[in-house]
Symmetry: C2
Subunit: 349 residues, 2 copies
């Protein structure tokens, strides 16, 4: 259990002072000849600067990643890519999850302070507005990914074009002859929720279809809310013939509910869900999806935090929206004449 070489050891074997070594470690200016000797010494000793010591000086290269729920394939992939991108830049990631619980999130934010992280990438629950901004006040660079909070106007955000994507999905269904399209979306407290609803309504409006507020369900991210919304939607007197599950966090529970109810897709109900993953085309029928370019989300997020941390970015919040791709599969089809539920519904000729 012999100890690792320190910067002092390097300085000694290179015949220079610690400050010189520190300079070559960072981007300081050092005489070419000297630098070479130091580099050699570093290699020879296998020296690696200790992250803890750096962080103590506020010079650490560690970011916090606050995700809602790793159980959701979408967030899992986001984590995967972010860790990947961070690693490529020599940055470590401390992972924390909120389980969509603002209380846990608050605790998490407190912990983040102790960690001396320089930046944070997060999918906020929607609450803890004060805590988030306090984090920023302490100098921690913050960037929201996927979701954001309207009240926090001064924060960088990376997400897909939520409105446009929702509109695309809606238009696709309209083109298929549907005029009662259900929408299960995220909470109105997040930009994701409002944007997707906006896109949906815009598409409806353009097609001259009146938008029925009953068909729009803004469900919270956590819990079985997705399933409940599905059930509620289908038990409407005039149930939708098509459904868009625009709440990424709830696709699984929504789909499960649909299958459990024995709804025939797309005969009884056309379905489009936000977020693609390897399983969506394995279920029957294969699902039409909005595929989010997760790698882009990740890359931009990491670039942003790091850019901020190194002060290489102009002031003012950066809003980056990447394009999502609509993938049409078998779960969305032409509207059939029959009503989706067995109400013995009288058709209006």
């Amino acid at each position: 259990m012999k100890k690792a070489p320190t910067i002092r050891d390097v300085a000694a074997t290179a015949g220079v002072s610690v400050s010189v070594v520190s300079r070559v470690l960072n981007d300081g200016s050092v005489a070419p000849a000297t630098r070479e000797r130091v580099v050699a010494a570093i290699a020879e000793l296998g020296f690696r600067p200790r992250a803890a010591a750096r962080e103590l000086n506020g010079a650490g290269l560690t970011i916090g990643l606050v995700l809602a729920d790793l159980t959701n394939p979408f967030f899992a992939r986001v984590a995967d890519r972010i860790v990947w991108e961070a690693r490529a830049r020599g940055v470590q990631v401390v992972l924390m999850t909120t389980q969509e619980d603002p209380h846990i999130e608050a605790e998490t934010l407190a912990t983040l302070l102790d960690r001396s992280v320089g930046g944070v990438i997060a999918t906020p629950t929607g609450g803890n507005i004060d805590q988030w901004s306090r984090l920023q006040e302490v100098g921690v660079d913050l960037v929201f990914v996927d979701r954001s909070i309207a009240a926090l106007e001064n924060t960088d955000v990376v997400s897909i074009q939520n409105d446009a994507s929702a509109a695309t999905a809606t238009e696709h269904l309209i083109g298929l002859g549907h005029d009662r399209i259900g929408l299960i979306s995220g909470p109105l407290s997040t930009s994701t929720g409002t944007a997707r609803i906006a896109g949906y309504q815009a598409a409806l409006a353009r097609a001259g279809i009146p938008s029925d507020t009953e068909l729009v369900r803004g469900v919270p991210f956590r819990g079985g809310a997705g399933a409940d919304a599905v059930a509620a939607l289908l038990s409407l007197p005039e149930p939708p013939t098509a459904l868009i599950v625009a709440n990424t966090a709830q696709v699984q529970s929504s789909m499960r509910q649909l299958y459990q109810m024995g709804i025939e897709i797309p005969q009884q109900l056309s379905v489009i869900v936000f977020d693609d993953n390897p399983w969506t085309e394995l279920v029957s029928p294969p699902l039409s999806v909005i595929r989010q370019p997760i790698d882009m989300l990740a890359r931009h997020s990491v670039d942003l935090v790091l850019g901020r941390m190194q002060g290489k970015l102009p002031v003012g919040p950066r809003i980056i929206e990447v394009q999502a791709e609509f993938v049409s599969r078998s779960s969305s089809a032409t509207r059939s004449v029959a009503s989706p539920t067995a109400h013995d519904a009288v058709s209006h000729p």
Copy 2:
């Protein structure tokens, strides 16, 4: 951007020395009256010890989590639970992924050294044996979860009862009349791979069924190896009538291949896969699975590292095996007379 209170501030407002504060922070012995005053001061100032400073003294409470691939729902859930369990104990988690690449893993291990983490929970790729043991020599407590490396005998391991689980699945299929059962397993360099194969063979032996080595495929964790193995297995002159995908990392690609080949399940081929997730019962037909108690794996892993880090555990490696549950669904059924491929196979009467 005013600075956070330090331990010295607390000491001052409590009218004691820093060491006393440090003692109440940790488990030190302090006079009840004094302790109370210190606690009050801490609360009043909202003091929180900085992780970096602690780690510099080797007293940090941070663990490294080295996972293969967050894209795989199994590992994602493992991460989710481990982060959860860690948080419950006031421990932070630095996440790193290897993408099943030993080279990246090596890099990761180096980084772990700089991080001054006290412990590491990992799913090793199978390589980097020297590096892993060096990590241990430096005093980092290591526990493998899910997978392990045979050569590293002195390491704690938490996993499911791989042999028993594989045996259960095999017996289930045998009971269904199958005698040619394919097995796609992990690499032989990991305990997971060998154990699952062993269980499978044991079950076969008990039933008096000769084990055909051609039916067993130990495929590497990364890449599309699972799909290839499936294809190879089914193009055998005497293809299996049942298949166990015992390589958790490859279920997705294996299933995809099966669907793409248009294999009818379970008519042409009965299938059982290791690892359950929300989608397995949404695909058609719903998959029979070995459900791994991920929460148990996580809890034990965290308990182990922390136990080691605090020296509260007897010496000698700890091998914890939790029980997995076999869930029978529609993908496994009685063997049909027909051969799974259209070879116009001559039946041997």
